[in-house]
């Protein structure tokens, strides 16, 4: 193949333990990540995200199936030469400084370039603290150093396991920009796991959603997340008239919130529909007091998605 995908897995499976107590952490996972994308890997706690990433980084041997990076089985020597990873939280030698930690890692990969380390420390905002022992770093600083470590070899593929963990809101914002920059400015492929919907929505081009080790959805972020995971909540008067008008097109329910004078109408419509909802109401002479887009939590989305799966509904697992 002239230009194989950045990541390709074929029925990748990992079962921990044996017999009754065994845990199927990842089951028959088929992923394909094109080069140059920011790819989100979304799932709740325990879904199997980290286990998948450990298999990609050749830390864990698959029980079945295989994982390829840039067309080479990750178990082959040298297959990970153009990959950088941050797996499940940053780990460093606490007694070494940030800079020395990076030096040790770079030398381990036989690729020590002091100017590269200096530039990376600058990029992740640690230049001023680079000479301090990592033991004295805050969680967020370690996370940044972890990202710098992943980028040491100037990899084509960057695999980041929950990179915004432990960062404050400003840090999260900054990290998202940084990650998008890796793809958009430097042409890298980024594979990023998260359990936060909005994080994936704001940074990724495509997303795979896994639950209990199985992929339940895969597709472009825009389509996938908009489709089914939000609804509009509206306060309007007169209520009856508004409800009737909306029912012609959407599913509507009433919800009284203690303390609110008028009940809410909950409209099962994706956010892009909101202008049409308002237009319709205004056209019918209804006064619209408030329109709120409410996200389902990831958990309830998963509940819905997996019950689809068990009911064998039309939108069940993507393949």
């Amino acid at each position: 193949m002239p230009n194989p995908p950045a990541i390709c897995t074929d029925s990748l499976t990992k079962t921990f333990g044996k017999g009754k107590t065994s845990i199927a952490a990842v089951r028959n996972l088929n992923l394909e990540v094109e080069r140059g994308q920011v790819y989100g890997f979304l799932g709740p706690n325990g879904a199997g995200k980290t286990t998948t990433i450990r298999m990609l980084m050749d830390l864990v041997r698959p029980s079945a199936g295989r994982a390829e990076i840039h067309g080479r089985n990750v178990r082959e020597a040298g297959a990970l030469a153009r990959v950088g990873g941050l797996v499940e939280g940053p780990a460093f030698y606490g007694y070494l400084s940030g800079r020395n930690n990076l030096e040790v890692l770079a030398r381990t990969a036989n690729d020590y370039r002091p100017e590269r380390i200096r530039a990376l420390l600058e990029q992740v905002g640690l230049a001023a603290r680079a000479a301090q022992p990592v033991g004295a770093y805050s969680m967020g600083m370690k996370q940044r150093l972890g990202v710098a470590a992943a980028l040491l070899g100037d990899p084509d593929l960057v695999v980041l396991d929950e990179p915004t963990n432990g960062l404050d809101p400003a840090g999260i914002q900054e990290m998202r920009g940084f990650i998008r920059g890796l793809a958009k400015e430097q042409g890298k492929t980024v594979f990023i796991s998260s359990h936060l919907l909005n994080e994936v929505e704001q940074t990724c081009d495509r997303v795979a959603i896994i639950h209990k080790g199985e992929m339940i959805r895969e597709g472009p972020v825009a389509g996938l997340l908009a489709e089914s995971i939000s609804n509009l909540r509206i306060q309007a008067a007169p209520l009856e008239q508004a409800e009737q008008a909306l029912r012609e097109r959407w599913e509507v329910a009433r919800e009284s919130v203690p303390g609110d004078a008028i009940p809410w109408l909950v409209v099962k419509a994706p956010p892009p529909d909101s202008p049409r909802v308002v237009e319709l109401l205004v056209g019918k002479g209804v006064r619209v007091h408030q329109v709120v887009i409410r996200r389902q939590t990831l958990e309830s989305y998963f509940l819905a998605a997996t019950s689809d799966l068990h009911a064998g509904g039309p939108e069940a697992a993507h393949d």
């Binding site: 797996v87 890692l105 690729d111």
Partner: protein, 294 residues
């Protein structure tokens, strides 16, 4: 490979607390001993003379003596625990710091472990060589002060004989240390914890040290005197036996009826190399298959 070794070296040596207590403590202890001796000499020549007698009386013996820490049975039953503790802590430390996940994708697992074995062995060898030099310097200074001789007088022959003996001792010490390093690596890989690795590796090491007595006991219990012949396959027997060949030119006398002298020098050296190779292969095989999940 040079870069990998430098990385291992840096992170091991810079772990000051660990290397300080378990590696540099040896030469620093020797230095401290002779500093105290010299200071005491200001007040009492007798006291100083007493401390000087802890040496072997000849500088060649003093120089080689430091290697006793890994070679001189039965002293080694306890003294080996220091390098073993260091090695187990270094190997298990990689699990405890969670660093394997950062290291393994960057190089081959086999090379990562081999580089570690090489560095821990080299560090202890360096500490022992420093202890050799400091012992000779301390003894020399004390003897000069008291006007005692420090034999043998240095000549070309004496020195070349000494160089050969020292090289032989260091070779044997290196083999013994590599066996310890492989045992420590195996224990750390299997237990992933410093404390558990320490216990396992101390157990292994003590079994080996006391193999002669254990085999004698088993021979009694099962009334099978030939069991003691197995002693020739243990690291301990071959380390002692090779030392005997190097020092005296003869095999080690053994207290068994069926087996009253140690094997040939060639057998013993081959046996030690087999232990090194076998344990190392086991370490690589186990590590290669291990899931790194923390």
């Amino acid at each position: 490979m040079i870069n990998l070794l430098r990385a291992e070296w840096k992170k091991t040596v810079w772990n000051y607390k660990l290397t300080g207590f378990l590696v540099w403590a040896v030469p620093v202890g020797v230095l401290g001993f002779y500093m105290v001796m010299l200071m005491g000499g200001l007040f009492s020549r007798e006291w100083m003379a007493g401390m000087l007698q802890t040496g072997s009386g000849i500088w060649t013996g003093d120089a080689v003596g430091a290697w006793g820490m890994v070679l001189a049975f039965p002293f080694t039953v306890l003294s080996r625990l220091l390098p073993l503790a260091f090695m187990a802590a270094v190997f298990a430390g990689e699990y405890q710091s969670g660093m394997w996940k950062n290291l393994i994708p960057r190089n081959r697992r086999a090379l990562l472990i081999l580089a570690k074995m090489a560095v821990v062995t080299a560090l202890i060898a360096i500490a022992l060589m420093a202890a050799s030099a400091l012992t000779v310097a301390g003894q020399g200074a004390g003897r000069l002060w008291l006007g005692w001789e420090y034999n043998p007088p240095v000549s070309g022959d004496v020195f070349s004989d000494f160089a050969v003996l020292y090289a032989q001792t260091a070779l044997l010490g290196g083999l013994a240390l590599t066996i310890l390093a492989a045992m420590a690596a195996l224990a750390a890989i299997l237990t992933r914890s410093t404390l558990a690795a320490l216990l396992v590796v101390f157990g292994f090491s003590t079994l080996d040290s006391l193999a002669m007595y254990i085999l004698m006991l088993l021979a009694r219990i099962f009334s099978l005197p030939e069991i003691v012949n197995l002693y020739r396959y243990t690291p301990q027997c071959n380390i002692d036996n090779a030392q005997s060949w190097f020092r005296t030119g003869a095999a080690l006398p053994l207290p068994f009826e069926t087996f009253s002298t140690g094997p040939d020098l060639g057998f013993s050296l081959a046996m030690l190399v087999i232990w090194v190779a076998g344990l190392t292969a086991l370490v690589l095989a186990v590590f290669e298959r291990q899931d790194i999940t923390a």
